[in-house]
Symmetry: C2
Subunit: 361 residues, 2 copies
DNA sequence: GTGACAAATGATATCGGTCCCATCAAAGGA
DNA sequence: TCCTTTGATGGGACCGATATCATTTGTCAC
């Protein structure tokens, strides 16, 4: 039984004719409610020490009452600090790369940086697109894996005017900083290890570099491996490129079988990744080939599964999580001081983990 | 032989007394060089059709000459669209969660959204902190895994006024949308499967929920498993909570040994994850326990390694990559239309993958 | 009492884009 | 011819914070 509202009274205060405005409270709403200026609110949230406790409490109460969450987009624009660190990876579905991201995040958390991850699925054209996307977000530093940047990408990075760190793979010509290890050395070390134990019929398992995607890092390992064999005047024809990257357990299994068929008298095998190595061990079990009595196998990456299989896998270890941590710490320090440190290259080295998959002789 | 510059000439045009300005070119620089307004530059980059080809070319040339990369921070602030989709995960170092991220990215790429990833390491307090961080970036949607949000987190999400999708674990009380499966059903299905094959001495391997971190999803599976056993009037004392989350291959190995010692006559085991199941199989090999002749084992997650071990692992499969893809597509559609669709809950179900680790009887 | 200085707070310009609307020229219709 | 419509472009306000500098107030030494 209510009368229709009278026209004159009904019209609500027009919310301004301009841009439609959101419902979310802004710093302005907080400042009004707390009866202070916006600047004071900003101070309470970013450097509370600067504000009198009584004022602070008023502001914090207003923040809580409104459910105010500051808009970092606006803050970033104004302060010219986004709090982003960009990370470019080939893929996330690889335990080692995931570990890098994990370590990085951990190191960056305390300094309140947020990782901005992009990945390329081993696709170089995608790398360039992603790099542009990242750069558009104005990260305060850029972390890259691998040294296979196209010319354009390199140019964009130089122009970006933020610290660039290349990790995992030590490039021959670093853009700026680099923390990692040499995949080429991994290959040579593996070959040396097998040679030192007296093997002479030595093979390797890798993906074909001609596939749709190329695993440059893996290919570097193979190059080192072959070089070391050649230095020992041993043939490299048992270094098998089989299937397409990225490798997997299944890749290892099929590649192993193919290698055995091609080179039945093979004595020792280096797999480009523990994934392949583990797959090979599993296939060997199926073929009733004893590891290491009949054939010795070693891998790279020290994945957890390698510790648990039978026999446990001898491998080359690189601590990827520590790599991420270290990179993160370096960046935090670097960004805290506004000095621009000289470009640095750190080789974290590698370590052979001797387990049971190599025959003792 | 150059004379020192005279003082009067040396003073360069002061770059304004105000805020220090960066070197990076802005849209203003592009517009000046191209002889058009800023708006025209903006149009060329976001909707080229609106601009005359001749003008467009002038602008694009200026963009290329300057190496201009638009600042999305500024663009986001103005347009109120950040292009971010937030994703919260327990961890990245789990193949299934990584697969979710992968699928999501893929679906979002075409619509030019960027995933903003945060993870909690299974820590609920961290979840809340990370959520605040994410919200401060003003994502256009939020994707969460798991239904274990604290009260505060839920409140923040409701207030955020963006679509929320909970994935992987179907919550009993969804915040808004949900796409996933029921971990409880996983447990019941596993138990049902073992019961149907006539096993009566049935156990399970899981992490202890009292550890530093709790894997709520895994615990749900155990709950379902135990319920189904109870319904069949079977004891649940062989459902072993051992070690701390998150589980691993090694966890499976030690838990398996502990279970065998406590319950030597066990017939069949359900492991909370393929990781544990594989570890258990490896430990069984070492203990000379034959799988499946002596003990049957099944897992959850359908990790690649399960397909390759001997015997191949029977498991429960959920397609996490497809889950991510589907979620991404849904979000893209949702954000394209400004209508707010009704909350939806989609159960993608699960599938038993029968392989060789369960005894045929 | 007063000047010097520090501490707390406020006013305002600005970050680099995009939104909204205005302007202007060209095309088409009555 | 004049009016309307459409297409291309520009002008200026604005998004929501923070940087910078100014102002106010309080404290202390002389």
């Amino acid at each position: 039984m209510s009368r229709p509202p009278r026209e004159t009274a009904a019209v609500p205060a027009e919310p301004k004719p301009g841009r439609r405005t959101s419902q979310r409270p802004t710093i302005r709403d907080v400042s009004r409610l707390a009866g202070v200026s916006r600047m004071t609110v900003s101070r309470v949230l970013s450097d509370p020490e600067l504000v009198l406790p009584t004022t602070r409490d008023k502001v914090l109460k207003a923040v809580a009452d409104l459910g105010y969450v500051p808009d970092k987009t606006a803050g970033s624009l104004s302060s010219r600090r986004t709090g982003f660190i960009a990370l470019m990876l080939p893929t996330l579905t690889n335990a080692n790369f995931a570990a890098v991201a994990h370590g990085l995040t951990e190191a960056l958390r305390e300094a309140n940086y947020h990782l901005l991850i992009a990945y390329t699925d081993y696709d170089m054209a995608e790398e360039e697109r992603q790099l542009l996307n990242l750069l558009a977000r104005r990260p305060e530093a850029i972390v890259l894996t691998g040294a296979m940047h196209r010319r354009n990408a390199s140019r964009m990075l130089m122009a970006a005017d933020v610290p660039v760190v290349e990790i995992a793979d030590l490039p021959s010509q670093p853009i700026e900083h680099a923390i990692g290890f040499s995949n080429y050395q991994v290959g040579r070390t593996a070959a040396r290890y097998l040679l030192d134990r007296g093997f002479t019929r030595i093979g390797a398992l890798a993906a074909s570099p001609d596939g749709e995607v190329t695993d440059h890092r893996g290919e570097e390992r193979m190059r080192g491996f072959e070089d070391e064999l050649r230095l020992a005047r041993l043939p490299t024809d048992a270094v098998l490129r089989h299937g397409s990257a990225p490798v997997s357990f299944h890749h290892g299994a099929t590649a192993f079988r193919a290698l055995i068929e091609a080179q039945p008298d093979i004595e020792a095998i280096f797999a480009v990744s523990d994934l392949s190595a583990v797959g090979a061990v599993m296939e060997a079990q199926r073929m009733n080939i004893r590891i290491p009595e009949d054939i010795s196998i070693m891998g790279f990456g020290d994945f957890e599964i390698g510790r648990e299989i039978n026999p446990a896998l001898t491998t080359i270890h690189v601590d990827f999580r520590a790599l991420g941590l270290r990179t993160g710490k370096m960046l935090v320090d670097m960004l805290a001081s506004d000095a621009t440190p000289a470009p640095s290259v750190v080789d974290v080295g590698l370590r052979i983990v001797e387990r049971a998959s190599i025959k003792d002789r």
